[in-house]
């Protein structure tokens, strides 16, 4: 399904400096509608920074990010969210003072396709059921297990019916059995035709989930293509194993 | 929270609430005259209150009780003083006055310290028919306040009278050739200072003075040296500061350091405090300031000795004596009426003349006593009145001759 889709998110020569450090250097790639796109690379290669630039958590030093025809580069995070980009965080961030269902409603109430009141609740209940959190909707989030918190965060992101979903190491920290559940969940999102950008370390997930991948090292894109292709790329292997 | 901490919390709460309940039911003996006062024990005005009001109340209560009490209802009743702290907060003040009137049902109340507090409390005194003999209140609204609150009396003069005293002093010094026309004037940027400066500006200009430096400074300014430097640079003949206690001290210290060479140097509140001369010693010889008294009358001399003996402190040379006089007026009015009938006491105050430490006091149709000293001058360790309204016993002001 990849080839015939149009690009929905276009990143061009994106650069982010922190003082003298260049975290993201001249990154360019695009994401097509209904595809799952992976961003991989060693630790500190700039993957999360790229995500933060797209979601508006950080401001780019130069370069552009466009969603369809809208330029996102200088926008504050809440406007980007309203245009339809939703995300999860590298370290899970649920809202500790709210119940599970309120967490999901939080995702629905303000963003891309706002829902409020009974409609939002019904929508949130359905999402929780969909993510196997049915029956836990009124629990304080502190009492949820780690994977349930991850699910809840995903539900919050999905609640806005995003155009593009950013998953920042969503699978990190799960044990093997949870990991399988997690991968199946993302696979089901893909099957629904959602557009997803996935930052991951878990290579099994990349192989089984991604249509295409971008590989980063030291802030630069060093490879792009299908998972099978990039993972056999010599430069990619060197980047992962080191120069020695 | 575990069980113990819940219990503990509940106990604390109950104990604290109990304190309140306890005090409400405190029983009082019947054969006393209950006199209430709400004072500022802490907060911005506490320092002034502690100098001018509190020792006088202590002394007066002791004197009256030592002689057996107030003569009322054909016998003698001792005074029982009820005293609350308002932390210099008007809302607390009003509440405490209400409490004195309706819970403690005191027979009489003494006046509070500060113009704002007298005005804020006046409606309650009026509502319950208490005479309010205001002392530490200087206002130009005397007629309006008196018509609103017919129970309110004024003893320390109006803003205009207060400034007129300063003007007359300066005019006198100019006529004597001591100073020229150039005046440097500063004021503290708070209600009192702003009001005085606003009255003084046209009044001094009209009297032919030229105000060569005219600045305000905020309350609590830590370094007043730029003001004295600025005033000095304007080369004035006289320096006038409508100041509050901390800045009266601060300005004078800076004036000494900068050697502000003027032949007339005036500061307002606290110049009359004993602490002022204790701090500066002989250096303030010839300093002018708000207040002043005639220290030569036997009544005043006896008062000052008694004050020192009873309270261990010297009274100030301004409102202390007037505040004591207000207590004497109340005392004489109550004994003159012979009962605790407050309306009768108010009428008695309106219609009689009282013999007090500051001389005979009576009130005009605006409940105002037009007899007060307005400007004093330090002479050999005594702060003598050099300007007054209706007193007629002020001495002539002299030149200030350097800071030695």
């Amino acid at each position: 399904m990849t080839s015939q889709s149009v690009p929905i998110l276009i990143v061009e020569t994106l650069t982010k400096r922190f003082g003298g450090l260049i975290a993201v250097d001249q990154m360019s790639f695009d994401v097509r509608e209904h595809e799952v796109m992976g961003i991989i690379g060693p630790n500190g290669s700039g993957k999360s920074t790229t995500m933060n630039l797209i979601s508006g958590a950080l401001k780019a030093t130069s370069g552009t990010i466009r969603l369809k025809e809208r330029e996102l580069t200088a926008m504050p995070a809440h406007k980007i969210a309203r245009l339809g980009i939703a995300r999860t965080f590298q370290l899970v961030r649920v809202l500790p003072d709210l119940t599970a269902i309120e967490n999901v409603v939080a995702g629905a109430a303000f963003a891309h396709k706002p829902r409020w009141g009974a409609e939002a609740r019904a929508f949130a209940v359905a999402l929780l059921e969909r993510l196997d959190l049915g029956g836990k909707q009124d629990l304080p989030v502190g009492s949820l297990t780690y994977i349930d918190q991850k699910r809840l965060e995903l539900a919050r992101a999905l609640a806005s019916e995003p155009e593009v979903l950013l998953l920042d190491e969503w699978l990190a920290g799960l044990n093997p059995s949870e990991l399988k559940i997690g991968i199946d969940l993302i696979a089901s999102l893909r099957d629904e035709g959602r557009t997803v950008i996935l930052v991951e370390h878990v290579m099994d997930a990349i192989r089984s989930l991604c249509d295409r991948c971008v590989v980063m090292n030291s802030g630069r894109k060093i490879a792009e293509g299908t998972p099978a292709a990039v993972l056999s790329d010599r430069e990619v292997i060197r980047a992962y194993l080191g120069d020695g | 929270m575990d069980r113990r901490s819940v219990l503990r919390a509940a106990c604390t709460w109950a104990a604290a609430a109990g304190i309140g309940a306890l005090a409400v039911t405190s029983a009082l003996a019947e054969d006393t005259v209950k006199i209430g006062v709400v004072s500022h024990k802490t907060g911005p005005l506490a320092g002034g209150e502690a100098v001018t009001h509190t020792p006088n109340i202590e002394m007066w209560v002791k004197q009256v009780n030592d002689r057996g009490g107030l003569k009322v209802d054909g016998g003698q009743k001792k005074i029982e003083l009820i005293d609350y702290d308002d932390k210099t907060n008007p809302a607390e003040h009003i509440k405490a006055v209400q409490r004195l009137a309706t819970q403690d049902k005191v027979d009489f109340m003494l006046s509070p310290y500060g113009t704002g507090f007298n005005v804020a409390a006046a409606p309650i005194y009026a509502k319950y028919g208490y005479p309010l003999i205001a002392v530490s209140a200087i206002t130009d609204k005397i007629p309006e306040l008196a018509s609103r609150f017919p129970n309110m009396f004024f003893t320390l003069g109006s803003t205009t009278g207060f400034v007129e005293g300063a003007r007359d002093t300066l005019v006198g010094l100019r006529d004597a050739g001591v100073i020229g026309n150039r005046i440097a004037m500063v004021n503290v940027a708070d209600a009192f200072g702003i009001e005085l400066a606003d009255v003084a500006r046209p009044m001094l200009t009209e009297a032919g003075f030229e105000i060569v430096y005219d600045k305000s400074y905020p309350l609590g300014t830590p370094d007043l040296s730029p003001i004295i430097k600025g005033a000095k640079a304007a080369e004035p003949d006289a320096f006038v500061a409508w100041s509050y206690p901390p800045d009266t001290f601060g300005l004078t210290e800076q004036a000494i350091i900068e050697d502000l060479d003027v032949n007339a140097y005036y500061t307002a509140v606290a110049t009359a405090f004993p602490a002022f001369s204790a701090k500066f010693g002989s250096k303030i010889e010839g300093n002018l300031g708000a207040g002043g008294v005639n220290p030569d009358t036997p009544a005043m001399q006896a008062y000052r000795e008694e004050h020192k003996a009873v309270t261990g402190k010297e009274p100030d040379y301004w409102a202390s004596a007037t505040y004591y006089a207000s207590l004497q007026i109340l005392e004489q009015a109550i004994e003159g009426v012979g009962t605790l009938d407050r309306q009768a006491v108010i009428d008695y105050i309106k219609t009689h003349t009282f013999d007090t430490v500051i001389g005979p006091v009576s009130f005009d149709e605006n409940n105002n006593s037009e007899r007060y000293w307005s400007v004093g001058q330090w002479r050999d360790g005594v702060f003598r009145a050099v300007a007054d309204t209706g007193m007629g016993d002020s001495v002539k002001p002299v030149a200030k001759d350097g800071w030695n």
Partner: protein
Amino acid sequence: MDILISGLLLGGTYALIAMGLNLQYGVARIMNLANGEMLVLGGLAAFWLFVADGLSPIATVFLVAPLAFAGNWLIYRLLIRPLVRRAKTQGQLDVDSILSTFGMSFIFVGLMVTIHGEYFTYSYLADPFSILGTTVAVNRLVAFIAAVAIGAAICFWLYRTQSGTAVRAVSVSTEAAGLVGINVERVSAFAFAIGGAVTAVGGTLISTFITLDASMGVIFTMKALIIVIMGGVGDIRGAIIAALLLGLVETAVATIIDPGLTLVAAYVIFLSVLLFRPQGLFGRRAS
């Protein structure tokens, strides 16, 4: 020249007011609203001993410093530490310390009023002294020199000694400091006590030229808070520079524009520093 010298002297006074709170908030993380009362207490001691025994305030400094140190150490151990232990977040600790030190400030005021309810005013070294043609008061000069000495001593301690390094480590991160084996509670108690001692000594010196009274502490607390925040939490150099800056600005405004605007100008400076550098002059940017 006048402005520069008078401004620096005033800045020295402000440094005396703020350095103690900087240690208390920067290191021990206690927003101490009773700071001003501690300062006034130092002033009261000076006044009391001067009037009763003729003791010079300079001598009082050496009496006040150990007493205030001990007193503040006890306050930390008995009253503050339980709050630190139960607080889960810095926000919670801020709330608790605001409430408890506000209570303490009332207690201090209440105690001081019973000792001396009138103004603490006396005259000590109120003599002129000429520096480069500018007349200054000797007592202010003494306070300035003391401020410089105390500031230098604290900086030396923080940046040149091992125990000082531990203190700075705690001010950067209590967690990390704990991980490398620093006894965070002890360091905090120590910093709090030193801070209290510095504040009280400052009060002793300031009382020689500013007329204090028992209720005046809140004015100094506010000034100290503003200087500490303007300098950046946890950086003593920032506090000192902020203090000097405030002193210069206030004096310049008073001399050139209008003394009535000094405090307005001070707050304008404070507010604009925060607007352009939300973490203060030397503060670390919150991550």
